[in-house]
Subunit: 107 residues, 2 copies
Amino acid sequence: MREEKKKRLEAKGWKVGDAKEFLSLSDEEEAYIELKLRLAERLRERRRHRRLTQVDLARMVKSSQSRVAKMEAGDPSVSIDLLVRSLLALGTTNRELSKIISSSRIA
Amino acid sequence: MREEKKKRLEAKGWKVGDAKEFLSLSDEEEAYIELKLRLAERLRERRRHRRLTQVDLARMVKSSQSRVAKMEAGDPSVSIDLLVRSLLALGTTNRELSKIISSSRIA
DNA sequence: GACGATTATGTCTAATGTGACATATACTTT
DNA sequence: AAAGTATATGTCACATTAGACATAATCGTC
């Protein structure tokens, strides 16, 4: 794993594995994090495209503005579940969802 | 929503909305549940294809046999996060993951 | 049909994710 | 540059999901 990428993830608040296995982020773990970040990016894009504020979206999914902000920031405290449900609430189809996923860096 | 489908989901232990809005499962909610069930199905397929027991898979993802059973049963108590991480642990690529999602009934 | 292996179901406590709130920071418009 | 709007960040009490364990049900194989 690239030093560069590790820094990037850590900057976002991710704890990348334990201290001992600091340098060896497993493939699954990496793919999982990348997936979340990708969903996060797209969520923001979709919301903006719809010209909605974070408050608007928060209402739609019965959440809060701060949680939406964290979703879009790829905060480790948000689950894929919430991301997916938010995307679905924005009218994202499964077809589009699948495109988002397949476009993740780690093929 | 079809009576048939509602029964099917309820049989799996899902609480389909509140009592009042019993008949009107929102599109997002339905899509979300369908997605989980689809991931669950594929997880089982993949595990069996690899000729692994639930105990084996549990070890691989540092979980327990009962949780794997619940994953595959589409139990409401399991998150998409866990399903996805398990699929990734089985070597599922993003490309395949995306196929699973796009093949969900609700396009 | 007993035995061994696998899977299903229920229930605990601990860990993680949640909405809500407060508040800081960044953007826009005037 | 102040006011107004939008987003970011930190914290907390509460809810949900987690792994673990026990035990029941199911499935071959003998």
